[in-house]
């Protein structure tokens, strides 16, 4: 039996930022319905990796394939296949929550009834109804995060890219976020999320990739009762890197 073609495939992807190698020769694959946790200490290259996958940054070298197509050659695929929640959920301060959803929908080619239905669905799913007329500039960080997530989910993407999605969420919202991620995965959406919280990974991810100093140091499955083993592996990688630097 042959495995289905991966939805996302990174081949030797590298990228320099601020004069240093932020990501080096990264190989990664993700299939539909999989949830991949991207772990790493601050500055490990997680956000750079996700920005490249989302199409906001171009790699210096390497290849990114999305649904079998070269994503660098066809960046328009992002509009249809990809939803991205960047770190700190940047928003247009002057737009209301409803206008944000409309704008994201239009930018992704939704219009008329399709846009209205998609908008209503994410408003209901993320409980944004009381905020629809509120300006994004006055939202709390947790509300901004929910709106960012709604914008990423609006067009039902095949790949959901989440950069620190649990930032600024309270425990109830974190639980709701985990349920949402599992629900998306069950519906066939591939999810890649970056975090530095190990508990987040063991709670929702099938696989974990650990990045350190821009390189992939670990890529393997996650078991729900595997928290201690994952923690050991993570610290081993992080501390080895620190010791190597000190030496």
């Amino acid at each position: 039996m042959t495995l289905p073609q991966p939805l996302l495939k990174l081949d030797s992807v590298s990228r320099r930022r601020a004069g240093r190698a932020a990501v080096r020769d990264l190989d990664l694959e993700l299939r539909r319905g999989q949830v991949l946790g991207l772990l790493g200490v601050n500055g490990a290259g997680k956000s750079t990796t996700l920005s490249m996958i989302a199409g906001a940054l171009r790699p210096d070298s390497g290849r990114i394939a999305l649904d079998g197509h070269d994503f660098l050659e066809r960046p328009e695929l992002a509009g249809r296949l990809l939803g991205w929640l960047p770190e700190r959920a940047p928003l247009w301060q002057e737009l209301t929550v409803g206008e944000h959803l409309d704008t994201h929908g239009r930018l992704r080619g939704l219009a008329g009834n399709a846009l209205r239905q998609a908008r209503e669905a994410v408003i209901e799913r993320l409980e944004l109804q009381p905020l629809v007329r509120r300006l994004a500039g006055v939202l709390s960080q947790g509300q901004r995060q929910r709106l960012g997530l709604a914008c990423a989910l609006l067009h039902r993407p095949a790949l959901l890219v989440l950069d620190e999605p649990a930032n600024a969420l309270d425990p109830v919202q974190v639980a709701a976020l985990r349920a949402l991620i599992r629900e998306q995965a069950a519906a066939g959406t591939a999810v890649i999320l970056s975090t530095h919280l190990l508990a987040e990974v063991t709670a929702v991810c099938d696989r974990v990739a650990i990045l350190h100093e821009g390189t992939l140091r670990h890529d393997g499955p996650v078991a729900n009762d595997d928290h201690a083993a994952l923690e050991r592996r993570f610290f081993e990688i992080a501390m080895n890197g620190a010791q190597a630097r000190a030496a």
């Binding site: 930022r17 920005s51 989302a54 199409g55 906001a56 940054l57 171009r58 960046p75 328009e76 695929l77 992002a78 509009g79 249809r80 990809l82 991205w84 960047p86 700190r88 940047p90 928003l91 247009w92 301060q93 002057e94 737009l95 206008e99 704008t103 994201h104 239009r106 930018l107 992704r108 080619g109 219009a111 914008c151």
Partner: protein, 261 residues
């Protein structure tokens, strides 16, 4: 589709921020004052003007000078063209530099919208605002047109010239916003470029030199012809060329953002 979505987004942002409203209100008040002065002058000299066969009329002395003081001389109060040198940089400064500072530019890239569509959408929005500003300015001389003889052809040519100038300046402002890291820097650069285009041939003129190249480069050369009522494709082409070059540069710089950041 994406171009229109970006244009709608930018128009919405313009309509919510106070800057566009304040600029619109203040400049229209200033232009209304200029219109009153021009109309007063025209009414005072009407008897004398009526005695001059082929002398200047309402269009030459009120309607066109409202759009620019270029033909009538005297600088204060400013005409629309002179005001545009300041207004357009202020209006365009945040279009791309603001998005970059706000962190929302990557959001646009991540929707798969190409850089040229982002630039074009932003340009259409700013141009829409400027054309509305031009129409509201024109409403002043048109409001008394029924009581006088208006040279529609001359006014149409002057309007076309003004619109072409606004379109070129908007594109230059957008390009500055694409290259600048901060909106204030974009506004300053755009103002300097607009002034440079306006006065590039001034030194040669003062020295009594008629330099063809400098005159061709100067915005005033092309605007003046249109304000006089002469529509020349060569002049219109100059505005199209400036706008096209600026927009191509803006799109090129924006596309490079994905490589640079």
């Amino acid at each position: 589709m994406s171009t229109l979505a970006v244009a709608r987004l930018e128009l919405r942002r313009l309509s919510v921020r106070p800057l566009a409203w304040v600029l619109g209100a203040l400049t229209l008040a200033e232009l209304a004052w200029r219109f009153t002065l021009l109309l007063g002058g025209f009414l005072a000299g009407q008897v004398k003007l009526a005695a001059m066969p082929g002398g200047p009329g309402y269009t030459d002395l009120v309607a066109v000078p409202l759009l620019s003081s270029m033909l009538t001389g005297g600088f204060l109060p400013f005409g629309l063209a002179e005001l545009a040198l300041v207004i357009v940089p202020l209006l365009t400064m945040s279009t791309l530099a603001g998005e970059r500072g706000n962190g929302t530019l990557p959001l646009l890239f991540a929707t798969g919208t190409p850089a040229w569509q982002i630039v074009l959408g932003k340009y259409l929005a700013v141009l829409g605002w400027l054309l509305l500003w031009l129409l509201l300015t024109l409403a002043m001389p048109l409001s008394v047109a029924h009581g006088t003889h208006l040279d529609w052809g001359k006014l149409a040519a002057a309007t076309l010239g003004s619109a072409a100038m606004l379109a070129a300046l908007a594109a230059v402002g957008l390009a500055c916003s694409a290259y600048a890291s901060h909106p204030a820097i974009a506004a300053a650069a755009s103002l300097m470029l607009a002034l440079a285009l306006w006065i590039v041939n001034l030194g040669a003129q003062v020295a009594g030199i008629d330099n063809g190249v400098l005159n061709w480069l100067a915005l005033g050369t092309h605007l003046e012809t249109l304000l006089r009522g002469l529509v020349s494709s060569a002049d219109l082409l100059w505005f199209v060329l400036v706008a096209a070059v600026a927009l191509v540069l803006a799109a090129h710089r924006l596309a490079g953002d994905r490589e640079r950041n």
